[in-house]
C-alpha cells in the first residue's frame, strides 16, 4: 500500500511538471500577450512593445519558462504580469472562498447523492426512480445561470430571506454569515448531484443483481443494512470516480456561480488571468487545481481499489 502511494505521488509530480509545460504552451497559443491585452483600448503599438520589453515577454518562451520553473523550485511562484503583485498573494486570496464553498458543497453532496442514488437504484424502473431521475436531470439541464437568477429572484428579491451576493463580504466574514453560502451551494449541488446520484444508481442496480447481495438477503440481512453494507461498497465504485471529477469541478469549474454571486474564488481568478494573459498566475492556479485534482484522483483510485479489491491482483 505504502509503495503504491509513493509511486502514485512521484508519478503525480512528473505529471504536474508536464502539466506546467503544457499549460505554458497552451497559454502561449492564445492570441495576444499580457502587454497587448493590457493596452487593449488605450495605447498604441509602440507602448505595447515597450511594456512587452519591460515584462520580459520579448524573450524566447523557453527562457521564460525556465525562469519560472527555476523560481518555482525555490518556492517562488513569480509575480503577476498584470498587477505586479506576487502570484502567491493572488492564489492565497482566492483560495479561501473556493475551499469553503467546495467543502460545504461536498459535505452536503455526498450523502444526498448517495441517498438519491440508492433510492433510485432500489426502485429502478419504478415511479419514484423515474420521478427523481426526471427532476435531477431537469435541474441538471437548466443552465446554472438561469437557475441562480431564478433562485435569487425568489429567495432574495421576492422573499428577502437570503443574501443574493457576497458583495462586500470577506473570506473571514463567512463563518459569521453562513447564509451567504446557501444559494451558491444550492446551485452547485443541483449541478453535481445529478451526475453523482445517477452513477450510484447504476452501481446499485448492478450490485443488487450480484449473487453476493442475493446471498446476504437469504441470510436475513435486513434491508437497510443490506443496502448500506453489502450493496453500497460495490455501488460506490463509479460514484467515487464521479466524485473525484466533481471535486475538481467544484474547485475549478464554478465560474458561473462565482460570477453571479460575486464570489472571489479561484475560477474567477483563473479566468481573469487567462483573459489578461497573465501566464505566471495561470500557471500557478492551474498547477494548484491540478494538484488537488490529482490528489482527488489518487484518493479515488485507492478508494476504488479498496471497494473492488479484486482488481489489485489483476496485474
Amino acid at each position: 500500500m505504502l509503495r503504491h502511494v509513493v509511486r502514485r505521488v512521484s508519478l503525480a509530480v512528473v505529471q504536474l511538471s508536464l502539466l506546467a509545460v503544457l499549460v505554458f504552451l497552451l497559454t502561449s497559443l492564445l492570441p495576444g500577450d499580457a502587454a497587448e491585452v493590457q493596452f487593449n483600448e488605450q495605447a498604441g503599438l509602440d507602448e505595447v512593445a515597450h511594456l512587452r520589453g519591460q515584462l520580459g515577454l520579448d524573450r524566447p518562451p523557453a527562457e521564460r519558462f525556465a525562469d519560472w520553473a527555476g523560481g518555482l523550485l525555490s518556492g517562488d511562484l513569480g509575480t503577476s504580469l498584470v498587477g505586479g503583485q506576487p502570484v502567491s498573494e493572488i492564489v492565497a486570496s482566492s483560495i479561501t472562498a473556493t475551499v469553503v464553498l467546495a467543502s460545504v458543497t461536498a459535505v452536503l453532496l455526498v450523502p444526498l447523492a448517495m441517498l438519491l442514488g440508492l433510492v433510485m437504484g432500489l426502485r429502478a424502473g419504478g415511479r419514484l426512480d423515474r420521478t427523481i431521475t426526471a427532476v435531477t436531470l431537469a435541474l441538471n439541464s437548466i443552465p446554472d445561470f438561469v437557475l441562480a437568477l431564478a433562485l435569487v429572484a425568489v429567495f432574495s428579491l421576492r422573499l428577502g430571506w437570503l443574501p443574493s451576493t457576497w458583495l462586500g463580504a470577506r473570506g473571514d466574514d463567512l463563518p459569521a454569515r453562513p447564509v451567504l453560502l446557501v444559494l451558491p451551494v444550492v446551485v452547485l449541488l443541483t449541478r453535481t448531484v445529478c451526475a453523482l446520484s445517477r452513477q450510484i444508481r447504476a452501481g446499485t442496480v448492478t450490485a443488487l443483481e450480484a449473487e453476493y447481495t442475493v446471498q446476504a438477503r437469504r441470510l436475513g440481512v435486513p434491508r437497510t443494512r443490506l443496502v448500506l453494507r453489502h450493496v453500497l461498497p460495490g455501488a460506490a465504485v463509479p460514484g467515487v470516480q464521479e466524485l473525484a471529477r466533481t471535486g475538481d469541478q467544484l474547485l475549478g469549474g464554478v465560474l458561473v456561480v462565482e460570477a453571479i454571486f460575486a464570489i472571489p474564488g479561484t475560477a474567477t481568478a483563473l479566468i481573469d488571468a487567462v483573459q489578461s494573459r497573465d501566464v505566471p498566475t495561470v500557471q500557478a492556479l492551474t498547477l494548484l487545481l491540478a494538484a488537488v485534482a490529482l490528489a482527488f484522483n489518487v484518493a479515488a483510485d485507492l478508494a476504488c481499489q479498496r471497494l473492488a479489491p479484486r482488481s489489485e491482483v489483476l496485474r
Partner: protein, 485 residues
C-alpha cells in the same frame, strides 16, 4: 423609474456601497495608471484633479480655482485653492509639479495621461509662489485645461510613490483596497469642497449579474453600467431607479479608409447611408439613446449642432455601391464581445446592408485584445467610445500618429489643420475650425456613428443626490455629494 437630481435635504452619515464592473488583478490604486471605471471611481474618492470636465465636457475648476494663458496658449498659469491632503499637508505648486513629473515619467509606461500631456515642457514649468503653477508647453495648445481634466491626471502629494498608500486631497480618506474586489474609504472632514455626507464609501467589483442582483436585493446602493434590459426589468421596482446620463459617448462602425473599397469616400458614404440608425438605437440601446450623425460628441462643447441629420437612403447607397464596384461584394466586419452590443449591432447592420445588396461577413475575434486587433483586421469594425472632449477624441483616433486610429484615417493636411485649430486661443474661432474638421470626417471619413446611448446606472431608492452625468465628467461617480435617505 428613472430620473436625475433629487430634492430634499442631505442627511449626514451612513455607509454607501457602489458596485462597478471589475477587472480583477488589473485594478489599481495608482491614480496615474487608472484604466477601468472602477479605478477612476475609487481615485475620485481619494484624489482631486486640477480641472475636471462638466456635463458638456467643458473644463471646470477643481483644485485650480482659475487659470489663464498669457500669449498664444503656450504658457499657462493655474491658481490653486487652499486644499489639504489627508495627512494634513497643504496643497502647493510643488505637489502639482511632482504629479506632472510622475505622469510624464518615461519609465512609467502605464501612466494613462502621458501621451496626451506630452506637450508639457516640464523643465520650463515652475512654481510661481506657493499657490500658482506655471505650465509651459512645447507647442501652443488651447486645450491644456481639458487635457488636465482627463483620466490619469490626479494630483498626488509630493513624494507619493507607493500606490498602496494613497494620500490625496479627495473627499474620502483611503481605508482598504483589494484588487478585483473591494475598496473602502472614510469621510475626510477637511475637504476643500465641504465634507461629504456619507461616513464611508465602499466601491466593489462584480460581474453584470451580481450587480443586478445586489442592487435589487439592497446589498448595494449604486450599480454602475447596467443594461437596457435591466432597466426594463426594474421599471416597476420601487426600490431601484435608473439614473440615465444622456449622450454618454458614441457607438458606431468604423471603416478602414486606407484600403479599398473605403479609401473611396463614396463607398464609405454608401455604408453610412445604409445604416438604419433608429433601429440600431432601438435594439442595441433598448431605445435609450439618440441617433448619431456620424460625428463624435453630440451635445458636447465644439459639436457642430447645425449639421442636418443623416437619414437612411437605400437607393442612394445602392447607387454608390454600384458606382464604387462594391455591390454584391463581400466585406468583412471584424467584431467581438469586447463591449455589450458589438456583435448584435454587427449582425443587425449586416442585415440592413444586405437589403441594399452588400454582403457583410462577420468575424468574431477574442475580446481581450479586440481594440488592438481591430487596428489590423477587418474592413468594417465595431466602435464605441465613452465621453471625452471632442479634441481629445480627434487626437486619439483621427490623426496620423493616433494610437487608436481605427478608421486608418491618415491625412497630413487634416493633422496640420487640427494642430492649428488647437492653438487658436479664441474659443469661437476654435469651435468653427473644429466643426470643419468634424464635417470633413462626417462626409469623407470612415466613421459611422449611429447612436449616442444613455449611460445607465441603477441606484437604490435610499441613495439620494446622484447626478445623471456621463462617465468621465465631474459629477459622475461622485459620492461626496450623495446621501442616504
Amino acid at each position: 423609474s428613472s430620473g436625475g437630481t433629487d430634492s430634499g435635504t442631505p442627511r449626514k452619515g451612513g455607509m454607501a456601497r457602489a458596485v462597478f464592473p471589475g477587472a480583477g488583478a488589473k485594478e489599481t490604486m495608482d491614480p496615474h495608471a487608472q484604466r477601468q471605471f472602477v479605478d477612476i471611481a475609487r481615485h475620485k474618492a481619494v484624489f482631486d484633479k486640477l480641472v475636471d470636465l462638466g456635463g458638456t465636457l467643458r473644463p471646470v475648476p477643481r483644485l485650480a480655482q482659475r487659470w489663464e494663458t498669457r500669449d498664444d496658449a503656450t504658457v499657462w498659469r493655474f491658481h490653486l485653492r487652499a486644499a489639504t491632503f489627508h495627512d494634513g499637508h497643504v496643497l502647493d505648486a510643488d505637489d502639482v509639479l511632482y504629479s506632472l513629473a510622475r505622469i510624464l515619467d518615461p519609465k512609467g509606461i502605464d501612466r494613462r495621461a502621458r501621451a496626451s500631456l506630452s506637450g508639457i515642457d516640464l523643465k520650463r514649468s515652475r512654481a510661481v509662489g506657493k499657490q500658482v503653477v506655471e505650465i509651459v508647453l512645447k507647442r501652443p495648445n488651447a486645450e491644456l485645461p481639458t487635457l488636465l481634466a482627463m483620466t490619469g491626471t490626479a494630483i498626488v502629494r509630493r513624494g507619493y510613490d507607493d500606490p498602496s498608500k494613497p494620500v490625496g486631497t479627495g473627499p474620502f480618506r483611503f481605508g482598504s483596497f483589494a484588487a478585483g474586489r473591494s475598496f473602502a474609504a472614510r469621510r475626510f472632514d477637511d475637504h476643500w469642497d465641504g465634507a461629504a455626507h456619507l461616513d464611508e464609501i465602499r466601491i466593489l467589483s462584480a460581474e453584470t449579474e451580481a450587480r443586478a442582483n445586489a442592487v435589487q436585493a439592497g446589498e448595494v446602493e449604486y450599480a454602475h453600467e447596467m443594461t437596457p434590459t435591466f432597466a426594463r426589468v426594474v421599471e416597476a421596482n420601487r426600490n431601484v431607479r435608473i439614473v440615465a446620463a444622456p449622450r454618454s459617448g458614441a457607438e458606431g462602425i468604423v471603416m478602414k479608409t486606407d484600403r479599398p473599397p473605403f479609401d473611396d469616400p463614396d463607398a464609405a458614404m454608401a455604408i453610412k447611408l445604409l445604416a438604419d440608425r433608429e433601429r440600431l438605437v432601438e435594439v442595441i440601446n433598448g431605445g435609450r439613446g439618440v441617433v448619431g450623425n456620424d460625428m463624435y460628441g453630440k451635445g458636447y462643447t465644439y459639436y457642430p449642432g447645425n449639421v442636418p441629420q443623416r437619414e437612411r437612403d437605400v437607393a442612394e447607397a445602392r447607387a454608390l455601391l454600384r458606382k464604387t464596384g462594391v455591390l454584391n461584394k463581400e466585406v468583412t466586419f471584424y467584431t467581438s464581445s469586447a463591449a455589450d452590443g458589438f456583435v448584435d449591432a454587427a449582425h443587425l447592420f449586416a442585415r440592413q446592408a444586405g437589403e441594399a445588396g452588400l454582403r457583410v461577413k462577420i468575424v468574431t475575434g477574442p475580446p481581450e485584445s479586440y481594440y488592438t486587433d481591430q487596428l489590423k483586421t477587418g474592413l468594417l469594425g465595431s466602435h464605441r467610445c465613452g465621453a471625452m472632449p471632442i479634441p481629445t477624441y480627434i487626437s486619439d483616433r483621427l490623426l496620423t500618429d493616433s494610437q487608436q486610429n481605427a478608421t486608418a484615417w491618415r491625412r497630413a493636411d487634416f493633422d496640420k489643420e487640427f494642430a492649428q485649430a488647437q492653438s487658436v486661443s479664441d474659443e469661437r474661432r476654435r469651435t468653427a475650425r473644429y466643426g470643419v474638421l468634424q464635417q470633413r470626417i462626417r462626409d469623407r471619413g470612415g466613421l459611422l456613428i449611429w447612436g449616442h446611448p444613455d449611460w445607465l446606472n441603477a441606484v437604490s431608492a435610499r441613495l439620494r443626490g446622484v447626478e445623471a452625468a456621463p462617465p468621465n465628467t465631474v459629477d459622475w461617480a461622485r459620492f461626496d455629494k450623495v446621501w442616504l435617505a
